[in-house]
């Protein structure tokens, strides 16, 4: 089982050093058995999150002076999920993520990350978490590669012997291998974003927390990130992706949480959330009034007759029954459409149409 191996070794594309993972693993394993850690390892219980949630918060609240940035949210990210963390700008997503990672302390409430309480167990939990918080940030006058080496050097759990290989693999995984020796300040925003993702992939991770990972990326880059996240998730890594771009999340996520003005206004599987708004049926016909009558008889709600179409909310009615009923009633059906609400509709219905940043 290779669910925890994420650190860029499992690239099916040409990796810089394909032999590395097994070597490294065996070295780690043998070193642990010689140092006596093996005893500890064998008695160490399975991480509690394997059965539960990768992230669980209870009543998580953050107040900055007068402003309540996050107000009592109960975030639940099941292990193995790809969790889309949605919300308009200023809705409290990044503040929440900072609390998850122990960068800021909550005013009230608790955080459990991979079964460890945060911030007390942050050092244990975070070595299994790759994160990208509020945009890339690196030393401008160092190369991308040197920046990754710096982060790796800071990680006391990283094996220096495999550092070079892991840095190369991470750069390769985000397509930066060729530009690795350029100074960070010469990078475009997209390259910077990729470097930040590479930093999150330096070590094997159980959880990735990616705050706006496709910000500033070109369409190809966006697609690549989506593919990358998908392949990491299929390896068993839990992923939390925050975004205000719905299209990004819609294709990717198994679970969704929607933030609005500091509240978690909705949370659940993507399918559950879609179910929240009713499916609409539209019958194109020359006799919209007759079609509307059939709809009402079947029990559709909000039925409206337009110039050459009738529209109603399906509710529990199966779409095929509506078509059959129309035909039986002698309504000439020219066209028939069933509109499942897009995530955007769900999103807008939860957070409002307004363009204003929530204050």
């Amino acid at each position: 089982m290779t669910t925890s191996r994420v650190g860029g070794f499992e690239t099916d594309s040409a990796s810089a050093c394909p032999e590395e993972p097994t070597e490294e693993a065996s070295r780690r394993a043998s070193s642990s058995s010689t140092t006596g850690d093996a005893v500890e390892a064998t008695v160490r219980p399975e991480p509690s999150h394997t059965s539960g949630d990768a992230i669980a918060t209870h009543g998580l609240t953050k107040r900055f002076r007068h402003q309540l940035a996050v107000d009592g949210i109960d975030l639940r990210v099941p292990t193995g999920a790809v969790y889309g963390f949605l919300g308009p700008n200023g809705s409290g997503k990044t503040t929440t993520i900072r609390m998850l990672l122990g960068l800021i302390g909550p005013t009230a409430g608790t955080v459990e990350l991979l079964g460890e309480p945060i911030p007390e167990g942050a050092a244990r939990a975070l070595s299994r978490v790759g994160s990208l918080v509020e945009g890339p940030a690196f030393h401008p006058y160092l190369s991308g590669r040197a920046n990754l080496h710096r982060l790796d050097a800071a990680d006391s759990s990283a094996d220096p012997a495999t550092s070079r290989a892991r840095v190369d693999a991470a750069l390769d995984r985000v397509g930066l291998l060729a530009a690795g020796n350029k100074r960070f300040r010469a990078y475009s925003l997209g390259m910077r974003q990729r470097l930040a993702i590479a930093a999150a992939l330096l070590m094997p991770r159980d959880l990735l927390v990616l705050d706006e990972p496709t910000n500033g990326l070109d369409p190809q880059g966006t697609r690549e990130v989506r593919t990358l996240v998908g392949s990491l998730a299929s390896d068993g890594t839990t992923v939390l992706v925050s975004s205000h771009l719905l299209s990004e999340v819609e294709q990717l996520c198994s679970h969704i949480g929607v933030m609005h003005a500091g509240h978690l206004v909705a949370q659940g599987t993507a399918a559950d959330l879609r179910r929240g708004t009713d499916v609409q049926a539209r019958v194109d016909t020359e006799r919209p009034d007759a079609a509307a009558r059939v709809m009402r008889e079947l029990g559709l709600s909000d039925v409206q007759a337009h110039a050459n179409a009738a529209i109603g909310r399906l509710g529990d009615v199966a779409p095929e029954r509506l078509v059959a009923a129309c035909v039986n009633a002698g309504v000439p059906v020219v066209g028939f459409t069933v509109d499942a609400p897009s995530l955007e509709d769900v999103f807008v219905s939860l957070t409002g149409e307004g363009f204003d940043v929530s204050g």
């Binding site: 642990s32 093996a38 064998t42 122990g102 942050a122 940030a137 800071a154």
Partner: protein
């Protein structure tokens, strides 16, 4: 790989190894930065300037230097170039150098945003402050020794070595003289490093490294100024810079250790108190940069 392998690996991963890797990375960051190399170049320029100026105009060395007067002895022994340069630079250049580095240590990382990535690596905050201060101490010694080594090299080139006449008039062999110069440099480095601890603390208060640098330079300058006002002589022994010039006592016969012992004690107290203050400030601080 089996599940057991994964767990085994975790066992090894979970325990931090004692390693100097992070410190070395920190030092590469400091000594690899062009700004800092240029700063060290400026520090080195002073003894060169002194040596050349005195060589060119050997007839009229300035006798009215404040602090330890090593200038008059330079023509007799090149080692005194290093001491003269140290006594000049301890007033401003060395404090500026350590201020820039220490103020940058946390505030600089916060300013570029790299602090949040370091903390989520994860680096424990106490460890971060420990490594940062270790790097500041190493830099303090490096900066001071750059002055000394340049001074010794220039002095020996232009004025030669040989036995040196101590401030009390007696003679010391060249080897012993060299040893005393090295000891003086190490002593002054400790004082500079204690200022670095104050800088580390100031650095945890802000996200603006330049502001922290200026604050620290102001502080050290104010300390020097206060040290010259006799009406507040009760304050003098507590000033961070008060004992810095005591390294001149190494060039008496016999060596007067008293002032330097107190100086080391004051430096240690400053270092410990301000490192702890930095820790108290930073350990639970919200990192929003």
């Amino acid at each position: 790989m089996s599940v057991a392998d994964v767990v085994d690996q975790r066992g090894a991963l979970g325990r931090p190894r004692v390693s100097t890797r992070f410190l070395r990375s920190e030092l590469r960051l400091i000594f690899g930065r062009r700004r800092n190399i240029a700063g060290l170049g400026v520090l080195a320029a002073v003894p060169i300037l002194i040596a050349v100026a005195i060589k060119v105009d050997a007839s009229s060395p300035n006798p009215d230097q404040g602090g330890p007067t090593f200038f008059t002895s330079i023509t007799q022994n090149g080692l005194f170039v290093a001491l003269a340069a140290l006594s000049i630079e301890l007033g401003l250049f060395l404090p500026i150098a350590v201020s820039a580095i220490s103020a940058d240590s946390v505030a600089g990382e916060a300013n570029t945003g790299t602090l949040r990535y370091l903390l989520t690596v994860p680096v424990r905050r106490t460890r971060l402050l420990g490594v940062k201060y270790a790097a500041i101490v190493i830099f303090s010694f490096a900066a001071t020794f750059v002055v000394t080594v340049t001074g010794i090299v220039m002095g020996l080139l232009l004025f030669g070595g040989g036995s040196l006449t101590l401030l009390s008039g007696s003679q010391a062999a060249f080897g012993e003289g060299l040893l005393r110069v090295v000891a003086a440099t190490a002593y002054l480095s400790c004082g500079i490093a204690s200022l670095g601890a104050v800088g580390l603390f100031v650095s945890t208060l802000t996200e603006q490294p330049l502001g922290a640098t200026i604050a620290l330079v102001l502080l050290s300058t104010a300390s020097f100024i206060a040290d010259t006002i006799p009406q507040i002589s009760w304050l003098h022994p507590y000033l961070i810079t008060h004992y810095w010039t005591a390294f001149a006592d190494l060039f008496r016969d016999p060596i007067a250790w008293g002032q330097m012992q107190t100086g080391l004690y004051v430096a240690a107290v400053y270092a410990v108190v301000f490192w702890l203050a930095a820790w108290a400030r930073f350990a639970g601080k919200d990192v929003t940069s």
